[in-house]
């Protein structure tokens, strides 16, 4: 659709004019980057490869009220989800992840909470000029400038951004800031192509996914599962920080007479996750839990939706406290096939 240029001097004006709650990457305490609502003090986007917590938290909150009730009564009220949000600076992998997860939340029965959040959000992505050390998006169907799931994609051209619209939602958003933009010429588009190529060349890690989805079930009893899970602490970081992990728990909580039922992120890496009330646990050790995590992403999801539930963002590798590396696991899977 349209390709426009935004001078970086005009950034504060640009984000300030948009109608909706704008979320941008921010420097958190401890120097981690995380998405947060615009405070008005941001003069530019920070330098970042990607946020530690993925922006899935904006459309699938870590803890979300399903409905409220008075303790001991059965009148239940679900919260209204009506806030328009604009996520600026989401990386292409994280936008692809939302598209992948949406399949599940639409499958068979609609999940009204997730779908409403998703409907109200506009995704303005920022293509990666400098992918991280553990990025492998190009192995799993993505790329540093993938537009899947995005409404607008931005390219960082040093002193200005190139903004390309992908959807009508994106087109409508740019209309709101028309006065700040100028049309991009052919030279800029050529510059963009070079940036993409350079970024792709910087991705050094890769996974050969050929045959993995079909082959994984046959490796059920393979010794590799014990090997790759031996150092796992069961902390769940890999799943909490994964942009495609969507598993949740449902719990009740009371404060005085006010009570609510909420859902909260859960992890297949936790022992209690599958433990029956009787005590029986179909996935009793980290071996079975790791096996399920890899199978779910690289085989079950492919079986169900013809998509790998991994976007190659590298977070599970970057933040695992004991350096468990999904690329290495997949290499061993491939070797065992």
């Amino acid at each position: 659709m349209s390709a426009m240029l935004l001078n970086k001097d005009k950034w504060p004006e640009f984000v300030g004019k948009l109608s909706g709650k704008v979320w941008v990457p921010k420097v958190e305490e401890g120097e981690a980057i995380r998405f947060g609502p615009l405070s008005g003090e941001e003069s530019k986007l920070p330098e970042y490869c990607n946020t530690r917590v993925p922006p899935k938290e904006i459309v699938f909150p870590e803890t979300e009220t399903l409905y409220c009730f008075q303790a001991d009564e059965h009148e239940m009220t679900a919260p209204e989800i009506d806030e328009r949000k604009i996520i600026i600076g989401i990386r292409p992998c994280d936008a692809r992840a939302m598209k992948i997860v949406e399949k599940l939340f639409r499958w068979d029965v609609d999940d009204p909470y997730y779908l409403k959040h998703r409907e109200l959000v506009t995704l303005v992505g920022l293509a990666c000029n400098a992918p991280g050390l553990n990025c492998f998006c190009t192995s799993v169907g993505g790329g540093p400038a993938s537009t899947e799931g995005l409404d607008i994609i931005m390219f960082d051209l040093e002193d200005r951004y190139l903004l390309e619209t992908i959807t009508e939602k994106g087109e409508a958003l740019l209309k709101e800031v028309e006065g700040l933009l100028e049309e991009a010429g052919q030279d800029v588009l050529a510059q963009k192509e070079k940036l993409i190529e350079a970024a792709e060349n910087k991705i050094s890690r890769s996974v050969d996914t050929e045959g993995i989805a079909e082959g994984l079930p046959g490796l059920w009893e393979d010794p590799l599962w014990k090997r790759v899970s031996a150092s796992c602490l069961g902390c769940g970081t890999c799943t909490y920080l994964c942009p495609t992990c969507h598993c949740f728990d449902i719990q009740d909580e009371t404060e005085g007479f006010e009570a609510r039922r909420y859902r909260t992120w859960d992890s297949c890496m936790f022992e209690e996750y599958t433990r029956h009330a009787s005590g029986h646990n179909p996935r009793p050790t980290r071996r079975e839990r790791t096996r399920n995590r890899i199978n779910h992403k690289y085989s079950y999801y492919v079986d169900k939706f013809d998509l790998i539930a991994c976007v190659g963002c590298g977070r599970c590798i970057n933040y695992c406290p004991v350096n468990i590396d999904i690329v290495e696991i997949l290499r061993q899977v491939k070797e065992a096939l």
Partner: protein, 275 residues
């Protein structure tokens, strides 16, 4: 997000509660107009006791009972614990029905062998009730049921009186060990099944019980030459949403809450041996 919200329960009232065994009670619940939804035997419902939580239970009553739903519930966790403490008149949240249910049409014209252990009789009882209500559709009915002790046998009036009196039906009871007040069969359910040597011709076996019992019953039926397509079981898994989103009840790429809980042995053989 009112009616379209699959996570929002509707309200039912507890009509009465019967004590079955030291740790099993049967709750009868109903909405303003009887049963809150239609269902088939083998399907489950999420019972909700705010602010304690929700848990999934198989429906114990037969679909022919339109006045109320019955749940025979063993006390094992938080929600089942509080359900045991309820009194009649209390309100509960309920959502469902969930799961696929038993293949009652495929079972037509066949002799049926029901094999239950402990609280595993709960889902079977819905199916047994359904088959007795449609008696002419099914052949001979054998019911093998066992528990740890005589006190742990549930639905005593049905297993002891109602079912044995049904036409063309036999009930075999067993307990795990000798007890002074027990003159019936002693032994585990799987070995009793082997001992009774049921023939596989024109017969479908349906089993439900603790995982360890199911495992050995399936082996026993295999030895008796039952084809995997004619052996049916129900699986239980920890569940939170009931609608295939929360992730935990999968066996390979199938969700027990959607594609189960009823599976044939032939289907289970195709799935990862995770259970």
């Amino acid at each position: 997000m009112g009616k379209a919200n699959p996570l929002m329960p509707q309200t039912v009232t507890v009509l009465d509660i019967t004590t079955e065994t030291p740790d099993v009670k049967t709750l009868r619940v109903a909405g303003k107009e009887g049963i809150p939804f239609d269902f088939m035997p083998g399907q489950c419902a999420m019972l909700s006791v705010p602010p304690v939580g929700e848990a999934i239970f198989s429906i114990t009553s037969s679909p022919h009972c339109r006045d109320c739903l019955e749940f025979s519930i063993k006390r094992v966790g938080d929600v089942s614990g509080v359900l045991h403490e309820l009194v009649s008149g209390r309100q509960l949240g309920i959502r469902g029905p969930y799961g696929n249910g038993f293949p009652v049409d495929e079972m037509k014209g066949k002799d049926l062998l029901f094999i239950g252990g402990g609280i595993g009789l709960a889902p079977l009882r819905s199916l047994i009730g359904y088959c007795f209500a449609n008696r002419e559709e099914y052949g001979h009915i054998d019911i093998v049921y066992g528990a740890r002790s005589p006190a742990d046998l549930v639905r005593k009036s049905e297993i002891g009186e109602t079912w044995p009196e049904q036409p063309d039906s036999t009930v075999y009871l067993t307990v795990d060990a000798e007890f002074p007040d027990w003159s019936g069969h002693v032994g585990f359910v799987p070995s009793y099944v082997s001992e009774l040597a049921f023939t596989p011709e024109n017969r479908i076996a349906v089993t439900c019980g603790p995982p360890i019992m199911i495992k050995f019953v399936l082996q026993a039926l295999e030895k008796l030459n039952f084809a995997p397509e004619h052996v049916i079981t129900t699986l239980e898994m920890r569940m939170k949403c009931g609608v295939g989103k929360c992730g935990r009840c999968n066996l390979g790429s199938v969700y027990v809450c959607k594609d189960g809980p009823v599976f044939s042995l032939a289907q289970l053989n195709e799935l990862p041996s995770e259970y």
